[in-house]
């Protein structure tokens, strides 16, 4: 009995030692990968920061309106946010690669899923950035056109254009990320439909006077109004 216990204990100790001997090199490899990942991520961050500085990414982000969003959320500049994001994604990627080397069952599937998710994350971020850029451009274009055409409430028009584009972009981003696709689709449909319905009612009721004035202007061409049309700018 005693021999059996000793034998089992010895066996268990051997198993532990074997497991440890089996695990230790993998753990060391994981540490090396994590360390290597840190160095690579650090270098990638520095390189990206320089490249973004060279291409004046902060200016671009300012134009896109992304900088304003970041400052409202008390976050650093767009270049800094993107550099840090790339640093963490790269380092996390290496750490997860190291963890997968450990061979822990169950974790490997999750890690593989993470790596498959990365391209979609980058595409979603790209869509978001371009979308914000487009929203900023078109809302400014609407604002300028409305001001120069002397249309009432140009800021409301500009805000409406920006909101429609941002809602549309967010729905595309969420769909790309695969997050709550159905919910987002329905939410987008309701928001967009609601907005259009609201605008239709607003123009229908609020724009009656405007429509009447426009018609009067078109139909009743009596005496020529005194206005700047009489002056040629050139």
């Amino acid at each position: 009995m005693r021999d059996m216990i000793i034998s089992e204990l010895t066996q268990a100790l051997h198993d532990i030692a074997r497991s440890f001997a089996h695990f230790l090199p993998r753990f060391i490899v994981m540490l090396i990968l994590a360390l290597l990942g840190f160095v690579i991520a650090y270098v990638a961050r520095a390189v990206l920061r320089s490249v973004l500085g060279l291409i004046k990414f902060d200016k671009l982000s300012e134009k896109a309106g992304a900088s304003q969003l970041l400052s409202k959320a008390a976050l650093p500049s767009a270049t800094e946010v993107l550099s840090r994001f790339v640093f963490w994604v790269a380092w996390l990627g290496f750490i997860l690669l190291g963890i997968s080397v450990l061979g822990i069952l169950g974790l490997q599937d999750e890690i593989a899923r993470f790596f498959l998710f990365l391209p979609r994350l980058f595409v979603a971020l790209f869509i978001l950035f371009v979308g914000l850029l487009a929203a900023s451009f078109f809302s400014r274009a609407a604002l300028l056109a409305a001001v120069n055409a002397n249309i009432p409430s140009p800021k409301v028009l500009s805000l409406a254009v920006r909101s429609i584009i941002i809602v549309f972009v967010l729905s595309v981003v969420f769909e790309e990320l695969g997050l709550a696709e159905q919910t987002m689709l329905v939410a987008f449909g309701i928001a967009f439909g609601g907005l259009m319905f609201g605008l239709a009612i607003a123009f229908g009721i609020g724009g009656r006077d405007l429509a009447r004035r426009l018609l009067e202007k078109q139909v009743v061409r009596g005496k020529k109004q005194e206005n700047e049309d009489e002056l040629s700018p050139l």
Partner: protein, 422 residues
């Protein structure tokens, strides 16, 4: 040759039939059936009177008219002129036409005319606008003679204008061009002008045709190219410039063609204008220009309202373009009543220079920068109209002269805020 790629075979055949010419008259058109007949008759009469011995051609470049404009151009016979004028041309006066598209594009039209002038080895060319309903036969001599006989390469017009006509020219284009390029040219952007074949060929070879602007403001670019290329330039007084009906919506396109073209040229010509000091007078045939003073009803109130609302509504846009001091000053005056609101020459010059620098740096879309200038121009126009309501011709001229000097005086400020070329 570069022009082989865009001149049609039919047009080339017509040019070959014409052969070499001395005088070329370029007439870009688009749905001008109402006026083009009288313009062509004036051209023919001008050639019979001024250049009967020269080989001449009228080249009509049409942007897809649907009212039969090209047929009217080629249909006017010079024989109709002879009994009335008792004059005979000793050479055949050719009249040919070509179509370049379905919508007007002044750059394409002008390029076609330049290419034709080069192929026909024209010595002197003149561009005329079919919208100039009061065109006189003597305009041809006034625009062509300095080139054909006196060795000039560019003849720009001066006109008799009402003191409140062409405010964009008098308050921005003329003073700014004069201050920066150092040439006293009143109408750097005009629909009528004469030029030598030499200048035309030089400009044709420049890289100005493929920048995606459809040649907006190409006439101004041409004048600036003549200045920077040190070509001899003079001006000719043509007389009254007939008012072309424009709606207020035309201000933004007008700003694109003038301010937009000038701001873009400043980037390209930095080495030239940054070295210019002072201003050289340009020889003028006839009077410099004449100012008409007859009463004109203008809605100044609307101009001021559009200025005030523009400054308020576009604050976020102006924050990207203007310095905080300039913006604060604009906001202050925009809140003043009609009697106190004055957009001073100094503030206007600072505003325009900051717009030019922002355009160069592309702080936002360049077209948006130009559009944002419209409400501010209305503010300046309001001030100009108010200050000169009862002014004499001399007072108006003095005021424009002062504005020119202010543009010159503030030039170091523009150089200071200009981004050095990397």
């Amino acid at each position: 040759m570069a022009e082989d790629s865009f001149l049609t075979d039919d047009f080339l055949r017509q040019l070959i039939n014409v052969g070499e010419v001395d005088i070329l008259v370029g007439l870009p058109t688009h749905n001008n059936a109402k006026t083009v007949g009288s313009v062509v008759r004036a051209i023919q009469s001008g050639i019979l009177n001024g250049f009967p011995r020269e080989r001449a051609v009228i080249i009509n470049v049409d942007g897809g008219s649907r009212d039969g404009t090209p047929d009217l151009v080629t249909g006017v016979s010079i024989d109709d002129m002879r009994p009335a004028s008792n004059l005979y041309a000793l050479r055949t006066l050719h009249s040919i036409t070509t179509k370049y598209g379905n919508s007007p594009a002044s750059g394409v039209a002008f390029r076609t005319i330049l290419a034709a002038a080069e192929l026909l080895r024209a010595k002197a060319c003149v561009m005329l606008s079919p919208e100039s309903t009061n065109i006189k036969p003597e305009w041809l001599s006034k625009l062509l003679r300095p080139i054909y006989r006196e060795g000039f390469d560019l003849v720009t017009p001066t006109y008799q204008r009402h003191k409140f006509e062409g405010l964009l020219i008098t308050n921005l284009l003329y003073p700014m061009t004069r201050a920066l390029y150092g040439k006293n040219i009143y109408e750097a952007y005009a629909p009528e002008f004469g030029f030598s074949g030499r200048l035309g060929t030089q400009f044709l070879g420049q890289d100005v045709w493929t920048d995606g602007t459809d040649g907006a403001g190409v006439e101004l670019r041409f004048t600036l190219a003549a200045i920077t290329g040190k070509f001899p330039i003079c001006q000719s007084f043509l007389g009254e410039k007939v008012h072309i009906e424009r709606s207020s919506a035309d201000l933004v396109p007008a700003l694109r063609q003038t301010a937009g073209t000038l701001f873009a040229a400043l980037d390209r010509d930095f080495t030239v204008w940054s070295a210019v000091a002072g201003c050289e007078p340009v020889p003028t045939n006839g009077t410099d220009q004449e100012v008409l003073l007859e009463p004109l009803r203008v809605n100044r109130k609307r101009l001021r309202e559009m200025f005030s609302s523009g400054v308020a509504e576009l604050e976020s846009v102006f924050q990207s373009i203007l310095s905080p001091t300039t913006l604060a000053e604009l906001q202050r005056i925009s809140r003043l009543g009609e009697d106190e609101c004055r957009y001073s020459a100094e503030l206007w010059v600072r505003t325009v220079y900051e717009f030019a620098a922002s355009y160069q740096k592309s702080v936002i879309s360049r077209d948006h920068i130009i559009q944002a200038l419209a409400p501010l121009f209305r503010g300046r126009a309001f001030t100009f109209l108010t200050e000169h309501r009862n002014a004499s011709a001399g007072e108006v001229e003095n005021s424009i002269e002062k504005l020119c000097l202010e543009f010159e005086r503030s030039k170091p400020y523009l150089l200071e805020i200009w981004k050095p070329r990397e």
